[in-house]
Symmetry: C2
């Protein structure tokens, strides 16, 4: 056994270091299964000091490393490139402090997203970011990818809920970044760190904002004869100044997969598109806003508009949406989930074009959309053992990305660039832009040991 | 005349370069008049290319420079340290584009904050950040300082409203930073730039979010027999889940100064503290929320609670608050406005302590507070010609800062660190934290020519 592994064992304990190929297999991919990289080892630190000492040992050896939470990412962001070691933070899962008066909490990075909400719900609070992987994903992962879920339409993305970070820098030093309440002080290094995809260091303590639970919630489901009609309803609602807590669209392929699964929630399988719209706030405003939304749905030709009459009905509607990928995964051997963003106003024109691209490449596609903010998840279904199909998936993804960028959109809303979208960076950024990013990264990680191979095209990372 | 001045004249035109000492006098300070630094020259570019070519000329000579908007800053941030040149952006004041469908606008940095709101109000929008200097200050200055005004309580700070930036780097290169809609892509360089106090480059085009005007607005004034009672009302309101659009406190000294000025708005001069509370949203929710706020005011012993019955009455209440500094300035030769932030829950305990500090140093003090987010503006009144009084102001400011930091607060909410608060940075940040900031700055400005002497203690800027 090499010396550095013994050193890691002495830091975190023998039982907290995995090195056998069998055990490492679990860590070779994330939820986007098409990229696979087996790590050289996986370690499970439980303290900030463990993390700091471990990265120092790895630094001495020049071994790259990457922090990982629950592995629910969808861009290959938490894979160990280049023979790296995974620093698995799932055992740093304690809520360290709750400051009720100032509505904030301090958590370790391995705390499961929903566990924090559960811990504060009895006193009327929640942690607002809610990715679909909420029952599994970690807050550290949310910070790395700035992944925020459907409710970011009203409540803002993850970075809006992060007040401070304790960070182990790639050289092992520990720094504290703090937004000092509602306002940033000087350079906003917290904002810089959030969404940096694990390339600037490892957050070991996270101070988050707690948000009051709304007094009232109303969840509606409406089904439409065309995708365009559903898109227009979204535009009309936002244009009228109503900001729903969430506004989600599922297309027919998605609805059918959901209805065939255990998450069936009674959605109409013959609809071209289904919207799930949630309104929250004071009871009086929820009533008013939902009547407006129902009006827009009907005016755009919705066949049915159903309002959940109980918490159980509400949860059933959301279960269908939040488990859409699981339902699609059940009936397809592989899925390629894309994560483009387009200006909301372009939805009615872009969506049909995306379907045409899939058709041209003879690929089945299902589409889930955070429609309120124009964040599309076109999901291509394929069999990874079929080389020709894989090539077609790749070509279709590229065309979809180019289309979205052409209409003023971008590459990712919440899944990150990771490994998967590095090849598209030049669609958006000039060499000067990418150089600026690479230089900023080099400030925190001059040796490029912390999650290399992600976000930045490799040729740019050599320059510094 | 030196060659570099001729070169600048050939770029922006002779009439757009000031060099005579008389003309430069206007630019030697900002609204915090205690710091004075005369620039070597002031230039008025009107295009991005002007800015880019000018900083190249200055770079060749090793001459530092600083971008300046309306000069309304309160931390000495836009002063030309070290014999620098001011790049005055007030003539880059065009609104370049308004995208109604996607609710955004592209503006030049010299656009006056309120001019943008006026340009979009007829179609039901506004630019949400509203510093008190709103009729004068520029959007470029708001970006530099992340200055946001009273309504950030509900609408978020300036950075939340900035979607993209065209930036002239200190070496003259032009880059585009883009948040691509609601979500950041990769490293959030826009967020890093906003609030960097003009030290990373010069923003020459700013893409901002437009926000729907609320359907209804209700503005209340309540007066209290003690500062503690007013503070408790603020805490009770927020704890009940009501988020007012703004929640401002003025103490007795401020109220008296306002009532003696042309901005007199009928505030009770015998009250220990006055709250101005604004609620906005749907008419039904504004009615409900205002009834809750009235209840909390009365429960905490408010003597009167007055609701503005017309837009004119509402404007009169706000005129008093927004011109409070002007009113104080009228009756005092000099003002030292501080800008500390404390956790909201500590207001009732910290405020009396701040008054005791002022008293101990025999200084008159007035206090204006963005009470909803704990952002205090204690304002010390003095005569700058009295050396002893100046020393006492300095000592009192230091004690106030130390107190605020001790209770978990910080140095600035929106005025920035600038020149004025560099000396306090070590109260908050470790050497490692400051080094990280200095390194990030060096990425954008390795030669340290762009607004030197601000934010970072000088000894840290030499290291890179």
């Amino acid at each position: 056994m090499t010396n550095w592994i013994k050193e890691l064992q002495s830091i975190v304990g023998d039982e907290n270091v995995l090195i056998s190929p069998d055990e490492l297999l679990v860590y070779e991919c994330d939820a986007l299964t098409i990229h696979k990289r087996a790590p050289r080892a996986v370690i499970f630190p439980t303290t900030t000091e463990h993390v700091s000492r471990s990265v120092k040992v790895l630094g001495e050896q020049g071994i790259p490393f990457v922090a990982r939470g629950a592995g629910t990412g969808l861009s290959g962001g938490a894979l160990a490139e280049a023979g790296g070691v995974i620093i698995e933070l799932s055992r740093m899962n304690r809520i360290l402090e709750i400051d009720w008066e100032n509505q904030r909490a301090i958590v370790q990075p391995g705390v499961i997203n929903i566990a924090l909400t559960q811990a504060v719900a009895t006193r009327g609070y929640h942690f607002a970011p809610d990715p679909s992987s909420q029952p599994t994903c970690t807050i550290g992962g949310n910070v790395a990818e700035n992944a925020s879920g459907p409710h970011c339409l009203k409540y803002g993305v993850t970075t809006d809920h992060i007040l401070g970070l304790e960070v182990v820098l790639p050289d092992g030093r520990i720094i504290n970044l703090d937004r000092h309440g509602a306002v940033a002080l000087g350079y906003d290094l917290v904002g810089l760190f959030v969404g940096s995809e694990g390339m600037f260091g490892i957050a070991t303590r996270i101070t988050v904002r707690l948000t009051r639970l709304p007094r009232a919630v109303k969840t509606l489901m409406a089904d439409f004869p065309t995708v365009e009609a559903a898109s227009q309803t979204v535009s009309d609602t936002i244009a009228a100044g109503v900001i729903p807590a969430a506004m989600e669209m599922m297309d027919q392929a998605t609805v059918r997969a959901v209805e065939e699964s255990v998450f069936a929630s009674g959605l109409p399988i013959d609809a071209a598109a289904v919207l799930i719209i949630e309104l929250d706030g004071l009871p009086v405003s929820v009533d008013y806003e939902s009547s407006r939304v129902v009006h827009f749905c009907r005016a755009n030709g919705a066949r049915h508009v159903i309002v959940a009459r109980s918490e159980a009905e509400r949860e059933r509607l959301w279960a269908g949406r939040k488990n859409a990928f699981g339902a699609l995964g059940r009936i397809n051997s592989d899925l390629m989930v894309q994560d483009a963003v387009i200006p909301r106003s372009r939805l009615p024109e872009v969506l049909p074009e995306i379907y045409r691209i899939a058709e041209r490449y003879r690929l089945r596609m299902a589409c889930v959309i955070h429609a309120g903010d124009g964040n599309l998840h076109p999901t291509l279904c394929f069999d990874g053992r079929d080389a020709d199909e894989l090539r077609r998936v790749d070509a279709a993804c590229k065309e979809i990305m180019e289309l979205c960028v052409r209409v003023g959109g971008t590459l990712t809303g919440e899944h990150g660039i990771g490994l998967d979208k590095v090849k598209y960076m030049s669609l958006i950024f000039s060499e000067a832009d990418i150089e600026a990013m690479a230089r900023v990264r080099a400030v925190f990680d001059p040796r490029g040991l912390c999650n290399p191979g992600k976000v930045l095209p490799v040729h740019r990372c050599k320059a510094f």
